[in-house]
Assembly symmetry: C2
Homo-oligomer: 289 residues x 2
């Protein structure tokens, strides 16, 4: 895992615009927003799913970079004063604090564009039609019926108490869609999948996406700001519904384990090529609690 993380860091450093090229401040801030940050869960998923279809790692790097750059853009815009107004991310000042607010807006905008540019300009799959399908998958996952839509549902839910079903609906969009895209894009970098195999990956990704959010809610409630590298406890402070608020910590922990088991079950029949996806399910569910 550490090997893939190091490989991704190098790939992102290479694929992001050079900070010497004009407009230098924008490019420097884009690099600040993406590099040296996070656990790279989505890239790890891209690589793990690529094992299932025996994809080449240069291709996986590219797909992983596109997904991670979309994720980074969403964090930069999320942290803006008009959204979560947060000052700390991955243990560093957020982009609008380190630079300024208009630059942070443009960093997010330009990172989103870069994700699609990467998929259009380099070869991540066997043929142009598959590559175009990867652009489509990423766009649907990031757009108004995916991640951005989930953000809007989150905005509108603030201050309300959501039911478990509503909470799940929000997270399937807000975090689940991009997690699912990571798995499907990774698989698309290799040999074509049979429909039944693709359905297994989809079921895995859906369970894992929710598990990821459930564990995030637990960590937000229980860990310290220093451990998280971002402001702890802010969801409840901002009047947002969380799994912990709706279910209590004990039942939330159980739910995380159930979703982890569901992710494992989904991989049944994919054989040893799915071993890394299986480990990642444990990594997501068992991190720090």
């Amino acid at each position: 895992m550490g090997e893939i993380q190091a490989r991704m860091e190098a790939a992102l450093a290479r694929l992001l615009p050079n900070a010497q090229v004009a407009p230098a401040r924008l490019h420097e801030a884009m690099r600040y927003a993406v590099l040296e940050g996070g656990k790279r869960v989505r890239p790890l998923l891209v690589f793990a799913a690529g094992e299932v279809t025996q994809a080449r790692s240069e291709r996986l790097e590219l797909a992983a970079a596109a997904v991670e750059v979309i994720h980074a853009y969403s964090l930069v815009h999320d942290d803006l004063p008009c959204m979560d107004d947060d000052v700390l991310r991955r243990g560093k000042p957020t982009v609008h604090v380190e630079y300024d607010e208009p630059t942070a807006l443009l960093v997010g905008d330009a990172l989103q564009t870069l994700a699609f540019q990467l998929l259009a300009e380099h070869r991540a799959s066997e043929d142009a039609a598959t590559q175009l399908e990867m652009v489509r998958l990423l766009a649907v996952a990031a757009g108004s019926r995916g991640m951005a839509g989930g953000q809007q549902i989150d905005l509108e839910s603030t201050g309300k108490t959501l039911t478990l079903a509503e909470l799940e609906f929000m997270h399937i969009h807000k975090t689940g869609a991009l997690i699912r895209a990571a798995v499907l894009l990774g698989a698309a970098c290799g040999k074509p999948l049979a429909e039944a195999e693709r359905a297994k990956l989809d079921r895995y990704a859906k369970a894992l996406g929710l598990a990821f959010q459930v564990v995030d809610d637990l960590l937000d409630a229980e860990a310290s700001t220093a451990t998280l590298g971002k402001t702890a406890g802010k969801d409840s402070k901002q009047g947002k519904s969380t799994y912990v608020a709706v279910l209590g910590a004990h039942r939330t922990r159980e739910l995380a384990r159930e979703l982890g088991a569901e992710a494992h079950a989904a991989l049944d029949g994919l054989g040893p090529r799915a071993a890394r996806l299986s480990s990642l399910a444990d990594f997501v569910v068992l991190r720090k609690f």
Copy 2:
């Protein structure tokens, strides 16, 4: 021209997410940002360039929608309080005034995604490789070395007096890149172009993109808010360099005519298929002064 504008309005209404579909408020605001707005100069350019390569109009609609949706996203983010803080656009309250600031942020984000989704999910060209090249062209034009980069240069230039060369550099990015993309995408919808023909279109697009901005500066300085449908005179109020400020109104008017002549000259040898591009050059240069 009116016919294409009406056709575009219908195409955009069809291609934007339905306002009944969740998240409904986001989708409604996305439609508000795009529909019933503007002269649709970029779509007109897509259609006019498509005549050069005898492209089918269903394809041109799609490419034009992608370009216009990118343009619309950039306006929504431009108008935000942390950028130009503007309240009026196309004769209507700006998105963050009509809705709210976080929604406007997400509207811009989701519109950008939609542009790439449109190009990935529908067929605008002969084959997948050409279509992927269209995604690439649009991404390069919109990104940090195109439109978003131009915005950053604009931010950093505010309060400074630019030279004519610096002003031109800014506008080649800020508005020129997307105008150029409109022309090249329109041409890409039809038969392949010879390299020399493509170079002519490129020269045309570059001249027209600058002409467009030069005329915008004249209108901003001389027309009323009611005529423009957006706040007049705001560039000079915000301490931004304009062609009028750098050259004076008389010389700016001459420059607009020179750039118009340059655009016409670029079309030499393309024959009657370029007639509509030629008329559009007049439309851009001669509008309202």
